[in-house]
C-alpha cells in the first residue's frame, strides 16, 4: 500500500506545484514508484512543469465520472519511468469533486504506487479540503515571510480538524519545507530565519530550498530543476526526496553557504 502525501501551503505562489514536480521526480529517481496528482481542478499547471502538457488526453474527472480507466489517464514521464502523472480537469471546477469518488481514486492509486503525491490548490476551500481528506502525510511549503506562514498555519489547522485520519483518531504527519530562501536577505535580517518559522508552526523540518533563478527557466522548459545537478535548489529537492524515502540525509546550511567563493572575496573588498 502506498503512502499519500498532500503538498499544501495555504497561500498561493509559494512553490507548491514546483515542489510537487521536483519531489515526485526525486522519489522516482530513488527507485520508488510514484504518481503525482494535480488537485487544482480548473487551473492545472503541474503538467507543464513536468513537460507533459501535450500528452494529457484524459484527466482525473474523466476517471471519476466518465468511466475512463486509470490506466488510460495515467501518463508516464519520459524523464523517469517510475514517475506517473494524473492531470486535473481544465474545463470543470472544484464542485465536481466528491469524497467517495476521491476515496476510490486514491485507493486505486495506493494499490499501484509507493507514493501518491497530491498537489493541493491554493486557499483553504473545498478543493483543498478534498485534497487533504485522505492524506497520510502533508508537506507544508512556506516562504520565509509572515503572510505565507500565517496562511500555512491556517491550512495546518484545517488539516488537523478535517482529514479522515484525524477523524479516525490518528494524526497526519506534517513536514515543513521552507522554500525560496534568499541567503542574503536572511543574513541581513530581512527574511525570517528558519528557527522562528519552526517555532511558530511547530512541525518538523524536512528541507530548506534556496531561491534559484533557474527555476523559472526549468518551469518554462518543463524540466524540473532537480535534473540540473549544479543547481542549489535542485540539490536541495534531491535531499528532501531522499528523506521522504526514508534515507538519513544531513541538513545543508543553505542560508549562509550560497555566496560563492568569488563573491565572498568581492564582499571582503566592498
Amino acid at each position: 500500500m502506498g503512502i499519500v502525501i498532500a503538498v499544501i501551503s495555504g497561500k498561493g505562489g509559494v512553490g507548491k506545484t514546483t515542489t510537487t514536480a521536483n519531489i515526485g521526480l526525486g522519489i522516482a529517481q530513488n527507485g520508488k514508484k510514484c504518481v503525482v496528482v494535480d488537485f487544482d481542478i480548473g487551473q492545472r499547471n503541474l503538467d507543464m512543469l513536468l513537460g507533459l502538457e501535450n500528452r494529457v488526453v484524459y484527466d482525473m474527472v474523466h476517471v471519476m465520472d466518465e468511466g475512463v480507466s486509470l490506466k488510460q489517464a495515467l501518463i508516464k514521464s519520459k524523464m523517469d519511468s517510475n514517475l506517473s502523472f494524473l492531470a486535473a480537469s481544465q474545463t470543470k471546477d472544484k464542485s465536481v469533486l466528491d469524497s467517495d469518488k476521491i476515496y476510490k481514486l486514491i485507493e486505486d492509486l495506493k494499490a499501484e504506487f509507493d507514493f501518491v503525491i497530491l498537489d493541493a490548490p491554493a486557499g483553504i476551500e473545498s478543493g483543498y479540503e478534498h485534497t487533504i481528506e485522505f492524506a497520510d502525510r502533508a508537506l507544508v511549503v512556506v516562504n520565509p515571510e509572515v503572510s505565507s506562514i500565517r496562511d500555512s498555519d491556517r491550512a495546518i489547522g484545517i488539516l488537523d480538524s478535517k482529514s479522515k485520519k484525524v477523524k479516525d483518531g490518528q494524526e497526519v504527519d506534517k513536514f515543513l519545507i521552507i522554500n525560496r530562501i534568499d541567503p542574503k536577505m536572511v543574513q541581513s535580517g530581512e527574511m525570517l530565519n528558519s528557527e522562528d518559522i519552526l517555532e511558530i508552526l511547530s512541525i518538523p523540518l524536512i528541507g530548506k530550498i534556496p531561491e534559484d533563478k533557474g527555476i523559472i527557466d526549468a518551469s518554462n522548459q518543463g524540466k524540473p530543476i532537480i535534473l540540473d545537478a549544479n543547481s542549489k535548489a535542485g540539490q536541495a529537492y534531491k535531499r528532501v526526496a531522499s528523506r521522504i524515502c526514508g534515507e538519513k540525509v544531513d541538513f545543508v546550511d543553505v542560508e549562509s553557504e550560497s555566496a560563492g567563493f568569488m563573491q565572498k572575496i568581492k564582499g571582503m573588498f566592498l
Binding site: V146, R150, D151, D153, R154, G157, I158, D160, I200, S202
Partner: protein, 197 residues
C-alpha cells in the same frame, strides 16, 4: 505532667436525615479534613461508618465551650462555610488546561478560566470570560474579561482586557500580569518567572 493546648476548627452540623447529611459531605468533605466535626442529633452507626471511611474526625453531641457573644456567629458558620465552598469550587471546576498550539483561524471560546501551555499564533484567537494564563508567547488576539490575565505578547498581538486595548509595548519582555484595579488597567511584570516554567 504533660499538657497541650490546641485551638481547633470546629464544624457543627445538625443531623436530620442520613441522605442529606451524606450528600452534603460527599460534596464538601475535603474542606473539613482538618476540622473537628460536631454532630448534633441521634448517634447512628451509618453516619459513623461513613465518616470513618472519609477519614474525618467527629464527635457527637458535644457542648462547645464558647462565649455567648461568639455563639451567634457560630450559628451562622455552616452557611458561611457553604459560601466559602462555593467560591473555592468555582475556579476548580471551570479551569481548563490546554496544551495545544492555537493556530491561525482557530478560536478558543471559554466561559471559565484557562491555562494555555502553548503559543497563540498570528490569526488565532482566545475569547474568555475568566482568568487567563498563557505560558508561551502570544502573536494572535486575546479578549479577556476575567479577574486577571498573565501573558507575554509580541508586537503583532492584539490584546483586549475588559474592552480596553492593552498596549503591546508593556507586554513584550516577560510574563506580565494584567488586572483591573479601580477601573484602571495595571500591568505588573512577573519577576520570578522561573516559578512558572
Amino acid at each position: 505532667m504533660k499538657t497541650k493546648q490546641y485551638s481547633v476548627k470546629i464544624f457543627e452540623i445538625e443531623l436530620e436525615d442520613d441522605d442529606s447529611f451524606i450528600s452534603f459531605f460527599d460534596k464538601n468533605y475535603l474542606f473539613f479534613q482538618n476540622n473537628l466535626i460536631v454532630i448534633k442529633g441521634q448517634q447512628r452507626d451509618s453516619i459513623k461508618k461513613y465518616l470513618d471511611e472519609k477519614n474525618l474526625k467527629y464527635i457527637f453531641n458535644l457542648e462547645i465551650p464558647v462565649q455567648k457573644k461568639q455563639m451567634k456567629s457560630l450559628e451562622l458558620e455552616p452557611k458561611k462555610e457553604q459560601e466559602v465552598v462555593k467560591k473555592v469550587e468555582k475556579p476548580k471546576t471551570n479551569l481548563k488546561v490546554i496544551d495545544k498550539l492555537v493556530r491561525s483561524g482557530q478560536e478558543i471560546k471559554i466561559d471559565g478560566d484557562l491555562l494555555l501551555l502553548n503559543r497563540v499564533n498570528s490569526g488565532g484567537s482566545i475569547i474568555i470570560n475568566g482568568t487567563l494564563i498563557v505560558t508561551q508567547i502570544v502573536d494572535g488576539s486575546i479578549r479577556c474579561n476575567g479577574d486577571f490575565m498573565m501573558l507575554q505578547a509580541s508586537s503583532k498581538a492584539n490584546i483586549v482586557f475588559h474592552d480596553v486595548e492593552v498596549d503591546n509595548k508593556f507586554l513584550q519582555d516577560k510574563l506580565n500580569r494584567v488586572e483591573l484595579i479601580d477601573d484602571e488597567i495595571v500591568i505588573t511584570p512577573a519577576l520570578k518567572e522561573k516559578n512558572w516554567v
